[in-house]
Amino acid sequence: MRRIEEAVFKALMVISLFIVLGSLLAVILVVVIRGAPALTLSMVTQVPQGGFYLGKEGGILNAIIGSLYVATGATLIAIVIALPFAWYLNQYAGKSRFADIFRAILDIATGVPSLLYGAFAFSIMLAIGAKTSLLWGILTIALFITPLLARSFDEVIQTVPFKLKEASFALGATRLETVLYVVSRQALPGILTGILLAFGRGIGDAASILFTAGYTDSIPTSLGDPVATLPLAIFFQLGSPIPAVQARAYASGIILLAIVLILSVVSRVLTKRYMKYVIK
C-alpha cells in the first residue's frame, strides 16, 4: 500500500513536470510553426511600406529597432538606479531597520503589474502635457524593470562571502572601494544575468508602454519621436482582419521569441565566462 501511494504520486509528479516543460515546448512550437511561412527577410530588414497593413510590402524593422531602443534605454536607467540601491542595501545600510524596510518596498514594487506603471506614467504625461514618445517609453519600462533589477542585484550581492569584504577592508579599502572593486566583481556573473533578464522583460512588455510610447512606421530619430515596439506590433497586427497581416503577427512572434532565446543563451555564456574570477 505504501509503495502504491508513492508510485502514484511519483507518476503524478513526472506527469506534472512533463506538462510544464511540454507547455514551454508547445508555446515555442506553435508560434514557430504558424509564424514560419510569413517570416521573410524583408520582415527584419524593412519598415512598413505603403499598404503594409493590408498585406502588402514591408517589414517590422521599425518595431525591432524601436524595441531595442526602448529596452536598452530603460535598462541603462534601471542599472544606474538599481546598482547603487543594491550597494546601499548590502554595504551601507548594514543590519539596520532601513534595509528591511527598503527591501520590503522593493518586493512590493516588483509585484506591481506593468500595466499600472504604464497607467501611472501616462497620468504624469497628461498632467505635464507630454506626448507619447521614445523617451516616455523608455521611462515607463525603466519604472517597471528597476525594482526587478534592484532585487536581483541585491540577491546576488547578498551571496558575496564576508571574507572577501574583510580582505578588502584589511588592505585599507573604503566601503565604496570594496563594493565597487571587490563585491561587484565577485557578483559580476549574477549582475550580468540580472541585466539581461531585465532587458528581456523590458523588450517583451507591452502593457506598460501601450499608453506611453505611441506607435509609428518609421524608426525614431530622436527621443521625442513616437516609437513602435515588437509586442505592440504583434498585438496590432493580430487585430487585423486580413490573414496575411495576422500571419505576420505570428512571424513577429518568432522574432520576439528569438530575441528572448538569444538573451538567455548569451547570459549563460557570459556567466560562464566571468565565473572564472569568482571565489567560491
Binding site: V27, D107, V112, P113, D205, F235
Partner: protein
C-alpha cells in the same frame, strides 16, 4: 613608495557615496507612494458620484450614461485567476517536489533553465499561443465535448494561458523552500523506516507548507495583474460569466483597452483609475502577505 595622495578625497568619496546610494532607495519608494496618490486622486471623482457598493457590486456598465458597475470585471478577474490557480497549484507543487526531492541532478540541470526560459517568454507570445492553439481547441473540441457553443475566447482560454505563465513563479519559489528544509530532518525520518514519499509527505511538505503558501500567493498576485496574454484570449465582453466557456472582461484588460482613449468622458477616466486602484491594492496586499509569510519562514530557518 606607495603614494599617499588623495586620502581625504577617498574618505570623502565614501561619505558622498553613503548619501548618494540612498537616493535610488528613496526614489523607488517615492514612486510607489506617488502611484497610490495619483490613482486615488484621479479615481476620487467617481467616489463622489457613486457609492462604493454600487461601484463594486453593480453589473450595469454603461459609461456613456454614467453607470459604472464593476461587478462584471471583478468577477471576470476572479474567474480567470481562480481557474488559472486551480490548474497551476497542483502541477507546480508536484513539479517542484519532484525536482527538489526525486529528480536526478541531470534532470534538474535540464529542467531548471527551461523553467527560467518559460518565465522569460513575453506575455504577447503567450497570448499568441492562446489564439493559435487554445482558442481553436476550445471552440472545436472541448466546448462541443461539453455540449456548449463557445467562440473559444473565454474564461477557460484565459485560465489555461495564465496557468502556464504562473508555473515558473510557483515552481521556483516552492523549489527553494523545499530545498531549504534541512537534510537532517529527512534523514531522521528515513532512519525511522519511512519511505521517501512518507518523508516528503510528513516531514518535508509539512515544514515547507508556509513557504509554499507564499509561493501560491505570489503566483496569484502575478496572475491577477497579468494583462496582455489574458486580454488576447478572454473575449473582453463586460458580462458576469456563468461558465468557463463564457467570455469575460478582467480588470487589467479593461484598463489596457480603454485608458488613454476615453479622455472625452472624465467620469470614464476616473472609473478606469478606480479599476487601477483596485488592482494596485489587491496586488500589493497579496505581496505584503506573501512577504510576511516568507520572512517568518526564513526566520524560523524553515
Amino acid at each position: 613608495m606607495v603614494r599617499q595622495k588623495g586620502i581625504i578625497s577617498r574618505r570623502y568619496r565614501d561619505l558622498i557615496a553613503e548619501r548618494a546610494v540612498l537616493i535610488p532607495a528613496i526614489l523607488v519608494s517615492v514612486i510607489l507612494i506617488a502611484m497610490v496618490i495619483v490613482f486615488l486622486d484621479k479615481a476620487s471623482p467617481i467616489f463622489i458620484t457613486q457609492p462604493i457598493t454600487t461601484l463594486l457590486f453593480s453589473s450595469s456598465w454603461h459609461p456613456l450614461s454614467g453607470q459604472f458597475g464593476f461587478f462584471p470585471f471583478i468577477s471576470g478577474t476572479v474567474w480567470v485567476t481562480l481557474l488559472a490557480m486551480g490548474i497551476t497549484i497542483p502541477i507546480s507543487i508536484l513539479s517542484a517536489v519532484y525536482l527538489a526531492e526525486y529528480a536526478h541532478r541531470r534532470v534538474r540541470g535540464v529542467a531548471q533553465p527551461l523553467i527560467d526560459l518559460l518565465a522569460g517568454i513575453p506575455s504577447v507570445v503567450f497570448g499568441l499561443f492562446g489564439i493559435l492553439l487554445i482558442v481553436p481547441l476550445i471552440k472545436e473540441q472541448i466546448a462541443p465535448l461539453a455540449g456548449v457553443n463557445s467562440s473559444g475566447y473565454c474564461v477557460l482560454a484565459g485560465g489555461l494561458v495564465l496557468a502556464i505563465m504562473v508555473f515558473p513563479i510557483v515552481i521556483s519559489i516552492s523549489y527553494e523552500v523545499i530545498r531549504a528544509v534541512p537534510t537532517e530532518m529527512r534523514e531522521a525520518a528515513l532512519a525511522l523506516g519511512a519511505t521517501r514519499w512518507e518523508t516528503v509527505k510528513f516531514v518535508v511538505l509539512r515544514k515547507a507548507l508556509t513557504g509554499i503558501i507564499a509561493a501560491i500567493i505570489l503566483g496569484f498576485s502575478r496572475a491577477f495583474g497579468e494583462t496582455m496574454a489574458v486580454l488576447m484570449v478572454v473575449g473582453n465582453v463586460p458580462i458576469v460569466p456563468q461558465s468557463v466557456f463564457d467570455p469575460a472582461y478582467p480588470i487589467p484588460a479593461l484598463i489596457a483597452n480603454n485608458y488613454g482613449e476615453m479622455m472625452s468622458i472624465p467620469a470614464y477616466d476616473s472609473a478606469l483609475m478606480f479599476a487601477a486602484l483596485i488592482l494596485f491594492v489587491i496586488v500589493v496586499a497579496f505581496n505584503i502577505l506573501a512577504r510576511i509569510v516568507l520572512v517568518r519562514v526564513y526566520r524560523k530557518g524553515v
